[in-house]
Symmetry: C2
Subunit: 411 residues, 2 copies
């Protein structure tokens, strides 16, 4: 008998018919002898409807009352799913975030979970009931309703699983797992059976938006095995766990990429302490997120400094950088809003030399010029012209044989 | 500085524009130096929408989870009204029934309030904030969400007013007060400035559906002055309080009536103890509500027994009565599904003889045959053929001069 936490997103509970389908899946899991906790999101479209309602009353709605409003979305779903379970003879009980209680800080609209009280849930589970929990919401120390921000239901599921020491936390979504890369770009992309938390974090933050990053961090921190599955088709999905010895054979798990990047360079600034801060300080203050940063030291005591930002922020960043350049007496400022980032991700690269050179060779063979390079322990990222995105990803997918099931291990 | 509880129904908060209008009214009350608690219903149509959603999933939805669902309706309104107040610079804080807490029993869908904890509300009021409370909902001893049943928001307002010892509980609705009778029947009908709780109960239960009966009982029990006003036009409305000496001059406050009644008679049953129970027992068991009951004793040791039910229940009641008649060897069963009830209501009739005879005389002069009569301390009801409803009400309204402002007192 296992204890399973299942999470269903907005699309999975998008209409009454789908809610009944989810109820069947939950009841089937329980019929296998498992104890089941279900975490649900608001029905798809509901959060947007509520937001529009709020904005029609106050253009900049008070975040505290906005959370009271938004929390009704998941409350509707927990009630409807419990009704559906009751209808098919599966005893269930619903809980709002406040009822659980899912305690958070008071950062309304983007609260963080501080703790989960699972005592009452345990009683229900022991009595054979399915527990249905509203995702995305909690309650602060003052008893006020909070929300965790978009996608927060994944985090709720992981937090509840961690508190209950569940055997597995299953995230049901509209894709059937994590792929070696986006199948729309590479039709040969293969579903991974396993991936490590670290790899998943890199894949997620680089644009494979299957899971919310915070929920993966959380699962890693509390060592909750996560599984991504499809609500609409049967299958094993992808299990996200800690590295195990079997996985060593795999060098590269997947290729992540990110469109809509832009690159800015400030040329010929004095190579002296504090210069990086003087350049990036104003960018950070303007709430512009900087991704890759590369600095090349020149021979004449000056240095070139390049970084990437989201394409939407390019114009603002360029303007700020021009002001900084004047202050610093830099030689020049240049930029390119038409670049993309491609990254190889894999815990295996830690112990395998030559991954980087094979990557660069593959891109060179296709005539793709690399504009920037950045590496971490389990990732190599390159920036290239956006026109090369598909070609680069396909060439790398083939070069690293990602379409083939690995020889040993489960991953 | 007064403490005022205001309640706005579903029509008053039916769309964002109306919610902003309510916010203006609330802020104006606060600007006069009063402390204000606002109780709101779900936006009109919302409860029906949620019910339809529930029924599309489970034809007979579990009442406990139905309450979790329905409670979201008022939660949406408290958030939106608080956003509207915040927007116009009026500090406010919302509370769900569970947050207040409004403690109820566990009769889901029709829970009764056991107590209201107003400590937290007091803190907000002292800090100058408007308190916005979700009507219609509460929480039981087990922490489960309950609802009070349709119209329960009035009861919430009165309960909160009683717990806070408010100076007045104002019920805003789409009519501007309580009238001597329905103005659609008698255009000369006059708005009452005052009416007693007892009279209001008789008026309400007889079809003047301005206020929920339970809320009036509650207000009477805890002596909370109630005022019925219009959300959409300014005015004094009607104050509902205990009788005061000034009101003695008024004999009749109003004329209530009820369409859709039906009458059933069982003729010639043995006049012996227990017979009333044997007749009405099966009716009650079938959940058919009986209104007036009249029994005439005959000379031959038998009796005739007549009662009224709602017209929708007529066929079922007739069928049951026919079975009872066979058991009791009654002479006959007869019925009439085309009758109505007209009632004179007024605390003044206690000390004034001749009201009844004047009523009967008025009806006789119009050629209206009285089919049944029933009296209480502050009410005389007659049953007549439905075709005489308008004529009877108009004749009585004129005969008792209800269109004229009373000579003395405020009522």
């Amino acid at each position: 008998m296992a204890l399973i936490v299942q999470k269903y997103g907005g699309t999975s509970v998008g209409d009454p018919q789908r809610i009944l389908h989810v109820a069947e899946k939950v009841a089937a899991q329980r019929a296998r002898g498992d104890r089941v906790v279900v975490v649900v999101s608001a029905m798809s479209g509901e959060t947007d409807r509520l937001l529009a309602l709020a904005r029609s009353i106050a253009p900049r709605p008070d975040p505290r009352e906005l959370d009271v409003l938004l929390a009704t979305g998941e409350q509707v779903t927990i009630a409807l799913l419990s009704l559906a379970l009751d209808r098919i003879g599966c005893p269930a009980r619903s809980y709002t975030g406040a009822q659980v209680q899912i305690l958070t800080d008071s950062a309304f609209n983007k609260a963080r979970i501080r703790g989960v009280d699972v005592e009452r849930l345990r009683g229900d589970l022991e009595a054979g009931r399915v527990v249905v929990v509203a995702g995305f919401q909690g309650v602060d120390g003052d008893g006020r309703i909070t929300t965790l921000g978009r996608g927060g239901s994944d985090t709720t599921a992981v937090a509840v699983a961690a508190a209950l020491k569940a055997d597995e936390c299953q995230i049901y979504t509209d894709v059937d797992g994590v792929y070696t890369t986006d199948p729309r770009v590479v039709p040969q992309a293969r579903r991974l059976q396993r991936i490590t938390f670290e790899e998943m974090l890199e894949m997620a933050s680089l644009g494979s938006k299957v899971l919310q990053i915070r929920s993966v961090e959380f699962a890693g921190k509390y060592n909750v095995p996560l599984r991504v599955l499809s609500t609409f088709q049967d299958g094993e999905g992808t299990l996200i766990t800690y590295e195990d010895p079997d996985m060593e054979e795999v060098q590269i798990s997947g290729i992540a990429f990110s469109r809509d990047e832009a690159k800015l360079t400030i040329v010929g600034v004095p190579d002296e302490p504090g210069v990086a801060y003087r350049i990036l300080g104003p960018i950070g203050e303007a709430n512009i997120e900087v991704d890759m940063i590369v600095q090349n030291v020149g021979a004449d005591g000056t240095t070139d400094f390049t970084f990437t930002v989201h394409r939407n922020e390019y114009e603002r960043a360029l303007e700020l950088l021009q002001r900084v350049a004047a202050d610093l007496r830099a030689r020049d400022v240049s930029g390119d809003p038409h670049i993309v980032k491609i990254s190889l991700v894999g815990v295996g690269m830690r112990s395998h030399a030559g991954i980087a050179s094979r990557m660069f060779q593959t891109l060179a063979r296709e005539g793709i010029n690399i504009r920037m390079i950045s590496t971490s322990e389990i990732k190599i990222s390159v920036v290239v012209d956006e026109k090369y995105l598909e070609l680069g990803v396909r060439a790398l997918h083939e070069a690293f044989e990602l379409d083939r099931e690995p020889a040993a291990g489960a991953g």
